[in-house]
């Protein structure tokens, strides 16, 4: 196992190729659940969890079922079913085991199914031929990148009501412009690479 490669994947997923700001994956929940910092943080946590778990399970299914049987064309279908089932399972599990976390996440849990960052990460794992550990690391750190992005964005958005902007930009447009500026800031990371 190449530690440098893992570090490279981590750094890439969290900062350089941040899912939100450079890959455009998971924009819907990013825009929808970022009005308050604490719900944004809850969503981010849930996404880390589901992305990590989905990466692991989908890797196993792809490797031992789809590739083994030559059914790669069923990838998208299999992955989305795994994710939907996983989210459902996590929901049931949390409800029984950790009710406090369950009520904190509330309606955001089922929404994760249609978070394209989750399906995106498993598809990218397959596309990049990551092995099991790399896939899980990419999934978890991709989720961390999402968490950082959404918390930063939510905390700026909370302050937006003090800002003075044209009326037409009310609501969504000004949020998009803010996200654009954040993306600009994240571009600063793009020169970074790990010296081999």
């Amino acid at each position: 196992m190449d530690a440098a490669k893992l570090l490279d994947i981590m750094l890439g997923a969290i900062l350089i190729n941040n899912f939100i700001f450079s890959q455009f994956l998971g924009i819907c929940p990013f825009m929808g659940v970022s009005k308050k910092t604490d719900t944004a943080a809850g969503m981010g946590m849930a996404v880390i969890f589901v992305m990590g778990l989905a990466s692991a399970i989908c890797w196993v299914i792809n490797r031992f079922v789809l590739v083994a049987l030559g059914l790669q064309y069923l990838q998208t279908l299999a992955y989305i079913l795994v994710i939907a089932a996983l989210v459902q399972f996590v929901e049931m599990f949390l409800k029984k085991a950790v009710p406090s976390l369950y009520s904190a996440l509330g309606i955001y849990l089922p929404l994760i199914t249609t978070n394209c960052a989750v399906l995106g990460v498993v598809l990218l794992n397959t596309q990049n031929n990551y092995n099991f550990i790399e896939s899980v690391v990419y999934g978890v750190t991709g989720g961390i990148g999402f968490l950082i992005a959404i918390v930063l964005f939510a905390s700026i958005r909370e302050k937006l009501r003090f800002a003075d902007y044209p009326k037409a930009f009310e609501g969504f447009p000004i949020a998009l412009v803010t996200a654009g500026l954040l993306a600009l800031a994240f571009m600063g990371f793009s020169g970074m690479s790990i010296p081999w």
């Binding site: 490279d8 890439g12 350089i16 190729n17 450079s22 890959q23 064309y73 069923l74 279908l77 079913l81 990218l124 596309q127 990049n128 031929n129 793009s190 020169g191 690479s193």
Partner: protein, 177 residues
């Protein structure tokens, strides 16, 4: 409990029908997709090092980035190599003559940013100029790192990835040659 079983069966039936349909489409498209990919690779190989035939060699060097090594008759070697660029993997084909000097580079697959990193693979004049810089080199690095390759404006990471690919290809060809 009965209800859950029934629902599961319905979902299963839907999935089975969809999977069956996909299987049918796949039969039609599979051959074409494979043929297209092969054609693209053959074209790229002819571009970097023209030869009447390519014979795949077994590579045992252990570099996971090396996908295939081919011997192009007496002309030299063609190596297919993958490196991580700025947005994902960059897959390229590197041609080398028998003294391991680069004869050409062709980028077959990438996900780099359009207008920046993607220039490396473009068929336009700027892309050709970038790839042309590698011809005649035996060791590639961008000017920022003290080499001779002018990086694409705003896409040093992609340029570095191509340099790494060329160097890996040279090293791999040397182990089999």
């Amino acid at each position: 409990m009965n209800k859950i079983v029934k629902l599961a069966l319905i979902l299963f039936a839907f999935s089975a029908v969809v999977a069956l349909l996909l299987g049918m489409v796949n039969v039609v498209t599979e051959g074409r997709i494979a043929a297209l990919e092969k054609e693209k690779q053959d074209k790229a190989m002819q571009e970097v090092l023209p030869s009447s035939g390519y014979e795949e060699l077994e590579y045992t060097g252990g570099n996971p980035n090396i996908l295939n090594v081919f011997k192009a008759g007496d002309a030299g070697y063609v190596v297919k190599v993958v490196e991580s660029g700025s947005q994902g993997n960059v897959e390229m084909i590197v041609g080398l003559d028998s003294s391991f000097t680069v004869t050409g580079v062709s980028i077959v697959k990438h996900q780099e940013t359009s207008g920046l990193g993607a220039v490396a693979a473009s068929t336009g004049a700027d892309g050709q100029a970038f790839r042309g810089q590698f011809v005649g080199l035996t060791n590639a690095s961008v000017t920022k790192d003290g080499g001779t390759v002018e990086a694409i404006t705003g896409a040093t990471i992609t340029s570095r990835a191509v340099c790494r690919g060329v160097n890996d290809a040279i090293a791999a060809a040397k182990t089999v040659g």
